[in-house]
């Protein structure tokens, strides 16, 4: 039982003290059993106060400390570190949340808020009286990282990790690397094309001995936890032994009777079942799409390197950390959305990029030369009725840059931008300026009054009530309507589901804290990078890839990790293995073992997260949580409701 407890009540610079009378809280707890020091502080987390706490702990020989401040998500670790610096075991620190749970929640009731704060602090004091010193669980960490997704963010992160000294497994679901950027051709800001950028990164990936690249590969099973994840990877065969010569490959493609929409070109062209995305695609080995292959065998006759006997392979990888760089999907408009799928000259932005890629001196779509182009912005983003409330960030800049390219590449182009307010942030402003000076026409409406695309005879007409000309109704006859589609989270979230990575309101992977821990997830050891976390341009994706690589590397490089000892504990006498705890455990931390002639449950403390799901289902009450025992909880309840 602690006898020298110190309590600090934080103002949080008004965040708490504007609603909670912190001095009253202090007075209410200063006489509690064991409390020998109680203070209020403007910012408990500020360096000066941390120093004061260290001095207090040393001078007054405190054996337990409570800070009543913000959510433990923000500063539990901060104050544990403080008490540790003062020589006290960090598990003798208890955090009381009187900001998120009190001042912010009850800003309309200052008296009530103060009373609630007093109870919460009293409960924390009750808990700290019982705390025991604990030592962390030390586990070995494998100095290897699985990078999932070989787009730009994943490839760049992989290179970084390898250069820093980790073994890297770069796992790509498609048969070819490069993700969305490979499909993007010319890029803003630099002269380099998407293909060239991918080539550069791919060359670096291949020159790194520490990187193993898997294509056609998917993670299908995951067990273990930070430091030691065990991944099972399924590798789909390409059905090619070696690269054929260009000639035999072309013959094999020519003889293939299957023709399917080419996803690489966003279905504006078709490809065969035997294919590569473009002639120098990486890896430079074509693949056979077995979903569509009819096994007719024609290709085998002309190309000796085709091998239909290749089987799906499975392999097990052990890694210390997982870096997710799984990217995004372009928004796919609904049928009829701005005429998409109904009017034949309505295309999406990614399709338009591919059309421009394939048209040399004339811009032609479906046999018709294009002169007037209408761009409709924010398709799938900033939706009034739909789910996507967010802005997709890259599209304004990218489409304006593309419109300039088109104007310079072909003669007689007229660009009409039907926008909702141009968002060419930062230095991209220069493109907007240039496009305006080149004579592009900008027409604007608000979210709730979007432009309309209609077919009138043979003509496609885009109509808008243009706020820039005092709501004048303006019509443009368009040869091509480009829907500037945004980014959406991957529709296939199997990897997110497998790894239990939470998603945010926008359904992209969610970081722990946008500013403090922007590339980490609540699953220890799993970091996120690139557009899997939210829309980003290339540079921003690379920055987040590099930042995520740094975090993953810092987890695995020392070879060992200190994990929380606050895990479940089994009372050997009371346990009569029934398996209920195992069923309840979300982390597979239990195993059935035989000891003393009976079966009992055993906790793998490296895997257990101390979530407590097992405790209430145990019929013999054989489980307890280290650091949050039944006794702790009962003492806290007693403090919370003293009059019952």
């Amino acid at each position: 039982m602690k006898k020298k407890i110190g309590v600090y009540i934080c103002h949080c610079g008004g965040n708490i003290s504007d609603y909670v009378d912190v001095e009253k809280v202090r007075q209410a707890v200063e006489g509690d059993e064991g409390v020998i020091l109680s203070k209020t502080t403007m910012f408990a987390c500020a360096d000066s106060n941390q120093k004061e706490m260290v001095d207090d702990i040393k001078d007054r020989e405190l054996d337990g400390v409570v800070v009543a401040s913000c959510s433990p998500k923000l500063h539990l670790l901060t104050f544990r570190a403080v008490v540790e610096r003062a020589g006290l075991n960090k598990y003798n620190y208890v955090h009381a949340n009187i900001r998120e749970q009190v001042s912010w929640a009850h800003s309309d009731n200052k008296m009530g808020a103060t009373e609630k704060a007093i109870q919460i602090v009293k409960a924390a004091i009750a808990k700290v009286r019982n705390t025991e010193s604990l030592e962390p669980v030390i586990v070995e960490a494998t100095n290897a990282v699985a990078v999932i997704g070989a787009g730009i963010a994943g490839m760049r992160a992989a290179i970084e990790l390898a250069e820093a000294g980790s073994q890297v497994y770069l796992i790509e679901r498609e048969f070819f690397v490069g993700g969305r950027v490979a499909q993007w051709d010319d890029l803003c800001l630099t002269e380099e094309t998407g293909k060239e950028l991918i080539t550069r990164l791919y060359d670096q990936v291949m020159s790194q001995k520490k990187i193993t690249l898997f294509t056609g590969a998917e993670v299908i099973e995951n067990s273990g936890s930070v430091g030691n994840f065990n991944l099972k990877v399924k590798i789909t065969p390409r059905h090619f032994k070696l690269r054929c010569t260009e000639e035999t490959l072309q013959q094999a493609i020519d003889v293939c009777p299957v023709e399917v929409p080419d996803e690489f070109n966003f279905n504006i062209t078709t490809r065969k079942a035997i294919y590569h995305n473009y002639p120098s695609e990486y890896p430079q080995l074509p693949a056979i799409d077995m979903k569509n292959c009819t096994r007719c065998g024609e290709c085998e006759k002309v190309c000796p390197n085709i091998d239909f006997s290749q089987k799906t392979e499975y392999l097990n990888l052990k890694v210390g950390s997982i870096l997710l760089a799984t990217g995004f999907d372009p928004y796919e408009p609904k049928k009829g959305e701005f005429g998409y799928g109904e009017i034949d000259n309505v295309v999406t932005f990614p399709q338009f990029k591919r059309i421009v890629h394939y048209c040399d001196d004339k811009l032609v779509y479906k046999g018709k030369e294009i002169k007037n182009i209408a761009y409709i912005y924010c398709v799938g983003s900033r939706q009034v009725d739909g789910e996507n409330k967010y802005c997709s960030r890259y599209c304004c800049t990218a489409i304006i840059h593309t419109a300039i390219t088109v104007k310079k590449k072909y003669k007689g182009i007229h660009n009409y931008h039907f926008n909702r307010g141009i968002r060419t942030y930062g230095k991209a402003e220069v493109w907007y300026d240039e496009s305006s000076r080149l004579g592009d026409i900008y027409l604007q409406s608000f979210e709730y009054d979007p432009p309309v695309v209609e077919k009138s005879g043979t003509q496609t007409i885009v109509r808008i009530k243009d706020m820039l000309t005092i709501d004048k109704e303006i019509e443009v006859v368009a040869d091509l309507v480009v829907l500037v589609t945004g980014m959406v989270p991957r529709q296939d979230n199997s990897i997110g589901n497998l790894l239990k990575v939470p998603r945010g309101r926008d359904n992209f992977f969610n970081e722990i804290h946008m500013k403090l821990r922007p590339v980490e997830t609540v699953i220890d050891g799993i970091t996120i990078a690139g557009a899997s976390q939210g829309p980003k341009n290339i540079m921003e994706s690379i920055n987040s890839g590099l930042a995520a690589a740094t975090k993953s590397f810092s987890l695995v490089n020392s070879g060992e990790l200190a994990l929380e000892p606050t895990v479940a504990k089994v009372n050997l006498e009371a346990c009569e293995w029934c398996g209920k705890c195992d069923e309840a455990c979300p982390y597979n931390a239990f195993e059935k073992v035989e000891t003393g002639g009976k079966f009992i449950a055993k906790v793998n403390s490296a895997v257990c997260k101390g979530c407590g799901m097992c405790l209430p289902v145990c019929p013999t009450n054989a489980l307890d949580l280290i650091g949050l025992t039944d006794e702790d909880v009962e003492s806290m309840i007693d403090a919370l409701i003293p009059n019952i």
């Binding site: 949080c12 610079g13 008004g14 965040n15 403007m42 910012f43 987390c45 500020a46 360096d47 000066s48 923000l74 500063h75 901060t78 610096r85 730009i152 970084e160 250069e163 820093a164 800001l189 630099t190 950028l197 983003s381 409330k389 967010y390 802005c391 960030r393 307010g421 968002r423 942030y425 930062g426 230095k427 402003e429 220069v430 300026d433 706020m467 820039l468 005092i470 945010g504 309101r505 926008d506 992209f508 946008m514 500013k515 922007p518 590339v519 976390q533 829309p535 290339i538 540079m539 921003e540 690379i542 920055n543 987040s544 590099l546 930042a547 995520a548 740094t550 975090k551 590397f553 810092s554």
Partner: protein, 436 residues
């Protein structure tokens, strides 16, 4: 040039110039990996501009709550040495993984280790001057603690304004004030440099028609930031002219951004969002106040930003699409804003009792001149040029010199932190190459 021999020589792995959030993030990451870092900060406290902010968009986290623990972690990290009041005078590249920097540390006239931050010197000091950390809203003494959550939280003497009366020395209980301190130069040998020198705010005096400096109730967004911060000077929002609580506040976006007439054609990337944030905070602080935001385009592009913009609209913030032409003052201190209402297609005037100029982000140009034998290239907008923007955004024109945060262009806090992470990653790779 030659570097003088008598300077004290120090050796580190990395020199990080600028201890704002980007430099701090880079320094922490590198220090965690075991590299020895010298972190230079020209101001008296680390934490950059962020530590002075109120709350941050789009989560409305209190800025101090996020910054202070980071600052504390940086300050106590065994692998990080911090010099405040210090700037590099010159940096020379002597070869691969070999740089030499001459660092000048200005005297603080206070022994930081002995100062307890008791503020008795402040009370004793008879000199009052404008407080730059409160952006001129209030005064401070010549002997002063920069601000309450400064790190180090230690006094400093502003020698330019000090009358050398000695009152502070007599008042100081620990005798930590020392007028004999002189500027000190260090020769620092390092293997790599990270530039995180941040940005400067646009000075609205350059747009006289907005009346800043002429009408007291026209303030900058950074001044409003201070009025809203937990360490705020007035403990409430007041207009500086007469101390009245404003109830009709206007924001003028793109002040000094997207404006070729003041030499800054680009968008500052943060002003829309911080103005929307301030509008939301003001609606909490002054529930009866009307807030109007005059804008050209709202750049709410980041994660959760557009939702935050919509939330402000739903809260009742009025958004008027139009460029403000001129601001004139009335006798009662109110201001008449003349603007083009684009939606209505006319020029209009509206009266407000306070106007906030949402000032933009400008480059902090000094750093490029410090590099003597190799050129640190700047981009057309005078930010540090990123030579491999698409694959290695932290690389500069000098091998071994990396850039983090707003030194390379406008960016918000999450992007600055990611950029700081990227710079530390590239520095790590560069340092590893030496040992291989």
């Amino acid at each position: 040039m030659s570097i003088q021999k008598q300077m004290k020589t120090l050796e580190y792995d990395v020199l990080v110039v600028g201890a704002g959030i980007a430099g701090g993030e880079s320094a922490l990451n590198l220090a965690d990996l075991g590299y020895k870092v010298l972190l230079l900060e020209k101001e008296l406290s680390i934490g950059g501009k962020m530590i002075l902010l109120s709350k941050v968009f789009p989560t409305l986290d209190c800025a101090a709550c996020i910054t202070t623990p980071k600052v504390s972690e940086i300050a106590r990290h065994p692998n990080i040495t911090i010099f405040t009041g210090a700037e590099p005078q010159k940096i020379l590249k002597k070869g691969s993984h070999r740089f030499e920097a001459v660092v000048l540390q200005k005297p603080r006239y206070v022994h930081v280790a002995d100062c307890t931050g008791c503020q008795l010197c402040e009370e004793a000091c008879p000199v009052s001057v404008t407080d730059e950390y409160q952006y001129g809203l209030v005064g401070r003494k010549a002997a002063y603690i920069p601000f309450s959550i400064a790190s180090p939280r230690a006094a400093a003497i502003d020698i330019d304004n000090c009358t050398l009366c000695g009152a502070c020395e007599r008042a100081c209980p620990t005798k930590c004030i020392d007028f004999t301190q002189t500027p000190e130069e260090f020769l620092v040998k390092i293997k790599s440099v990270v530039i995180a020198t941040g940005f400067e705010l646009f000075d609205p005096l350059k747009i006289p028609r907005y009346g800043y400096g002429k009408y007291k109730n026209v303030i900058t967004s950074m001044q409003m930031e201070r009025e809203l911060a937990p360490t705020r000077p007035f403990n409430t929002v007041l207009r500086p002219g007469d101390g009245k609580m404003p109830d009709n506040i206007a924001y003028v976006l793109c002040t000094g951004s997207r404006d070729k007439s003041v030499g800054n054609p680009i968008c500052s990337q943060i002003c829309c969002m911080y103005s929307i944030k301030q509008a939301q905070l003001l609606m909490g602080a002054l529930p009866m106040a009307d807030i109007t935001i005059y804008y050209l385009h709202i750049r709410a592009f980041g994660k959760g930003f557009n939702e935050f913009y919509v939330q402000a609209q739903d809260m009742g913030v009025e958004f008027i699409k139009g460029k403000v032409g001129k601001i004139t003052g009335k006798e009662n201190g109110n201001l008449v804003v003349r603007y083009e209402d684009i939606k209505a297609g006319t020029v209009k005037e509206a009266e407000h009792d306070m106007v906030v100029l949402s000032v933009g982000v400008l480059p902090n140009q000094g750093i490029s001149g410090v590099f003597e034998n190799e050129e640190l290239q700047l981009d057309p907008f005078h930010f540090v040029n990123q030579v491999d923007l698409m694959a290695s955004p932290a690389k500069t024109s000098i091998e071994g010199v990396f850039v983090a945060g707003t030194a390379s262009g406008p960016m918000d806090i999450p992007d600055s932190i990611l950029s700081g992470g990227a710079a530390s990653a590239e520095t790590t790779s560069y340092l590893r190459k030496e040992s291989l």
